[in-house]
């Protein structure tokens, strides 16, 4: 018998009597899609938030904060002006020296400060990890309260790869001291786009 059949038949024989799948309750009365809540959580996990209503102001801010000789890559057409002209890459390894990556986030989750991005938002899956600094642009209307709400929006989307990113990469593997910048980006900046009340 193949390993597959051996395992499957043992599982079939040993699995308990079928019990039904529970409904997942609606919990949203406790959390709201509040920007203040989102900001607080994001800052708690080491990200920086900016409110903005135009791509021009994002460009100004990025140029001021990330003035550097190293390449900047963005997949957002409106920010094309900050793309390094030399930025043509044939393999993910070539992104090795990227200083800053700016991408769009599809949604943000207030309860945990995570933003959802998929392959469609990046040029290469490695991009948001290999860069020294990551910035994302999130429309304020795309903020949801909880992970349940997030998966309602993600739904049956047919992405090849997608990820929640919550703050800069981090580790506390040495004596539980938190260090930002483990193997991924050392900082994360979130631009909330849209006129605020």
């Amino acid at each position: 018998m193949s390993n597959r059949d051996k395992i499957l038949s043992a599982v079939k024989q040993n699995q308990p009597t079928l019990v039904s799948l529970p409904e997942v309750a609606q919990f949203d009365k406790y959390f709201t899609e509040s920007i203040t809540e989102f900001k607080k959580v994001c800052e708690g996990i080491g990200a920086t938030l900016h409110f903005t209503d135009s791509y021009e102001s994002i460009i100004l801010l990025l140029e001021e904060q990330f003035a550097t000789a190293r390449p900047v890559v963005t997949s957002i057409p409106e920010l094309a002006a900050i793309n390094s002209s030399s930025a043509i890459f044939n393999s993910p390894q070539e992104y090795e020296n990227i200083e800053l990556v700016v991408i769009k986030a599809q949604l943000g989750v207030a309860e945990n400060g995570a933003v959802w991005i998929t392959e469609a938002d990046v040029l290469e899956r490695a991009l948001p990890f290999i860069t020294q600094h990551l910035a994302v642009v999130l429309h304020k209307d795309m903020l949801v309260a909880t992970m349940h709400d997030a998966y309602k929006l993600i739904g049956k989307d047919n992405y090849g790869w997608g990820t929640f990113i919550a703050g800069p990469s981090k580790t506390a593997d040495i004596e539980q001291s938190l260090v930002l910048g483990a193997h991924g980006p050392r900082t994360m900046t979130i631009f909330i786009m849209g006129t605020l009340l």
Partner: protein, 460 residues
């Protein structure tokens, strides 16, 4: 490994030689436990979430055969190659053949407790393959040539000065420097080269979704993604129990996992892998290694609900004061002590005794595994099967005596250590110095003594 010959009590004794370190270990893990509490209390529906997670897992286990085949079918449709491995040998051979096919003798690997269980690194080393663990904590213990002592915090038993000395030798950091920031940065620089040059990356799997054939990997460091997205071949090793039915069930589990593990609201990265990158490969290895047997053990099958958050270890008074290595098993702590006897009852006969049965593990478990009750049940079986040492049996029957004579081990000093050495599992009442750390969200229905007596009657 000569450590294998020593049981939990003897290994605890070694760990307890350095009292300062033990205290530090104890306090650090308790601090992590407190962070977990804070995060859990911040979610008013916490208990309902635990209940739901537990019920989803129960349902999944009751329909596991069909979920496994659906998952396989969907994954294959997504362009993923699915392999099945009955045990360690089969799994490790598959990894080796994939490395051979790729024509490389170098692999990078993010955290995977399953590959620890299957002793993959040792196997590959014998075959001339160099594996580099990319998670910082795992890299530290790998350089120290020792196993991880905790499933979430692999190097939690080591002080920063020791890591500084280790990195001075291996990464050339300045001698005597023990700054976690500097050491982390040195590891980051060093690991970049590994990520950029290795062709094969192995990762674990936190959740596998039957309806879509995708799988999710959670890390804080970003090392799983760095490896997977830069390699030509991504191998994902998963136990059969990692399945959940639907994508939106991830909401329940991702809300619980990291809050329980470290007190963070979610890991930095929760990556959903559905298809390989263009021209690249993803291989999933679905591993049994005793899990289907555990599935058939009515009293113990709930252990397969485990999502490896580590909360039961952080809260465990015995784990905190005996250290992960004292469990001489890839998974330490309370959950390790109920999983290990399924794999080898004789070898791990001591582990279910390495507990005070205080129940704190069951109280924090995000999927509501009745861990302490399973520990108790394993003790019955181990004694029945004749695997308990005479000392253990005697200590078991002497339990009531000690419990009703708190003076025997009331003091934190010598007597407490004596207890830890000779019968570490009996120190479970309010007279114990550990008691101050014990916090039960709900009042227990019966005192430990009553509970113990009642259970003993039932089982005898």
């Amino acid at each position: 490994m000569n450590a294998k010959k020593q049981d939990h009590a003897a290994l605890s004794e070694i760990f307890n030689k350095d009292e300062e370190r033990v205290n530090w270990h104890d306090e650090t893990l308790w601090w992590v436990r407190q962070k977990r509490d804070k995060a859990a209390f911040g979610v008013p529906e916490w208990e309902a979430l635990r209940e739901t997670a537990s019920a989803i897992k129960h349902h999944t286990l009751s329909n596991l055969h069909d979920y496994l085949t659906t998952f396989e079918q969907k994954a294959v449709e997504n362009g993923i190659v699915v392999h099945w491995a009955a045990g360690a040998k089969e799994h490790n051979d598959i990894v080796l053949s994939l490395l051979n096919k790729a024509g490389t003798n170098k692999m990078m690997k993010s955290k995977s407790m399953l590959t620890e269980e299957l002793h993959l690194n040792e196997f590959l080393k014998e075959q001339g393959i160099e594996t580099i663990d990319t998670d910082l904590g795992e890299r530290i213990v790998q350089l120290l040539e020792e196993p991880p002592s905790h499933i979430v915090l692999p190097a939690i038993h080591r002080k920063k000065e020791e890591i500084g000395a280790l990195f001075h030798i291996h990464l050339g950091t300045p001698e005597g420097n023990a700054d976690p920031k500097l050491l982390t940065y040195a590891a980051r620089l060093n690991m970049r080269d590994v990520f950029l040059t290795r062709k094969v990356a192995l990762t674990g799997v936190n959740f596998a979704i039957a309806e879509t054939g995708e799988f999710v990997v959670c890390t804080n460091e970003g090392n799983a993604d760095m490896g997977a997205h830069l390699a030509d071949i991504h191998i994902a090793s998963m136990g059969i129990e990692k399945l959940i039915p639907q994508r939106d069930h991830l909401a329940v589990f991702l809300r619980l996992l990291t809050r329980s593990a470290t007190g963070q609201p979610i890991t930095t990265y929760s990556s959903h892998f559905k298809t390989p990158r263009k021209g690249k490969e993803i291989h999933i290895i679905i591993v049994d290694n005793g899990r289907s047997v555990q599935l058939g053990r009515e009293d113990f099958r709930a252990s397969l609900k485990c999502i490896r958050c580590g909360a039961c270890m952080n809260t465990c008074p015995v784990y905190r004061r005996s250290g992960g290595h004292s469990y001489h098993n890839s998974i330490a702590g309370p959950i390790g002590a109920i999983l290990a006897p399924n794999l080898d009852m004789k070898e791990y006969a001591d582990l279910p005794f390495a507990s005070t049965l205080c129940g704190s593990c069951s109280n924090v478990c995000p999927v509501k595994i009745d861990i302490h009750q399973q520990l108790y049940k394993w003790r019955q079986i181990i004694v029945q099967e004749g695997y308990a040492t005479p000392a253990k049996k005697a200590a078991m029957s002497g339990m009531n005596f000690v419990l009703s004579n708190p003076g025997v081990f009331r003091a934190a000093g010598k007597a407490g250590r004596w207890v830890l050495r000779h019968a570490p599992y009996i120190a479970a009442n309010k007279f114990d110095p550990w008691y101050k750390h014990r916090e039960l969200p709900q009042a227990p229905k019966a005192s430990f003594n009553e509970w113990y007596r009642k259970n003993r009657e039932q089982h005898e």
